[in-house]
């Protein structure tokens, strides 16, 4: 039973295309995240949603649009893909502990989606 799953695992596409990455968690968590890991292995948070509401929205081009149809899903749609979008995208989820500002919860990560833009 995969706790946090992502599809597709690999995605190769042409510059200018629009693509979506899907994330699902079966842990019953309320909070979900998208992270980007670039070619230098830097992991940076992009978005987080709590109960389908956007909480964190880092400085990300508006070509990236997250969508949360329900608590168990957080999809990432990318318009007009650019070469610099090539990276590994990780989804994560956690059960919120609002009193601690999120510190006491553990984030569970998916296996990642490797996106290559040609």
């Amino acid at each position: 039973d995969t706790a946090v799953s992502q599809t597709p695992k690999y995605l190769v596409t042409q510059m200018g295309n629009d693509k979506s990455i899907k994330c699902e968690q079966n842990l019953g968590h309320d909070t979900m995240y998208w992270y980007k890991q670039d070619s230098k292995k830097f992991l940076k948070i992009m978005f987080s949603y709590n109960n389908k509401e956007l909480i964190i929205n880092e400085t990300v081009p508006n070509r990236f649009s997250p969508k949360s149809p329900d608590k168990a899903h957080l999809n990432l749609h990318i318009n007009s893909l650019e070469l610099g979008d090539s990276a590994v995208y990780f989804c994560a989820s956690s059960h919120p502990n609002l009193a601690s500002g999120g510190a006491l919860e553990t984030q569970y990560f998916g296996p990642g989606t490797r996106l290559l833009v040609l």
């Binding site: 946090v4 909070t31 995240y33 230098k40 292995k41 830097f42 992991l43 940076k44 948070i45 987080s48 709590n50 909480i55 964190i56 929205n57 990780f90 994560a92 956690s94 919120p96 609002l98 601690s100 500002g101 999120g102 510190a103 006491l104 919860e105 553990t106 984030q107 569970y108 990560f109 998916g110 296996p111 990642g112």
Partner: protein, 118 residues
């Protein structure tokens, strides 16, 4: 803003030898500290975390880390490594009692690849 520096990008070591992976952080406010491990083609898994209390924290798979506030460090150690410990290790920080748009936000270091040789 907080930042994390992992001082070694790669650490080769022989099986059954001890290992230390170094992590330093920078923050003007209190932080919580985490170590994650990423096995090949998998997502990140939490090894251990420091929130408060004893500065020596023990995690899974025989790993431990020591929080040193004066040196702003959180080095990861294992007294005897196994081949199966070969993976990439990420140090991360989170603002203590963060709320609003900082809720749940993890800031990662650039990772250290640990390679255990027989």
């Amino acid at each position: 803003a907080q930042s994390v520096t992992q001082l070694d990008s790669q650490v080769p070591v022989f099986e059954e030898a001890p290992v230390e992976l170094r992590c330093n952080y920078s923050s003007s406010v209190s932080v919580y500290l985490f170590w994650y491990v990423q096995y090949p083609n998998q997502g990140l898994q939490l090894l251990l975390k420091y929130l408060s209390g004893s500065t020596l924290v023990k995690g899974i798979n025989g790993f431990e880390a020591e929080f040193n506030k004066s040196q702003t460090s959180f080095h990861l150690r294992k007294p005897s490594v196994h081949i199966s410990d070969t993976a990439e290790y990420f140090c991360a920080v989170r603002l203590a009692n963060a709320g609003g748009t900082s809720y749940g936000k993890l800031t990662f270091g650039q990772g250290t690849i640990l390679t255990v040789h027989p």
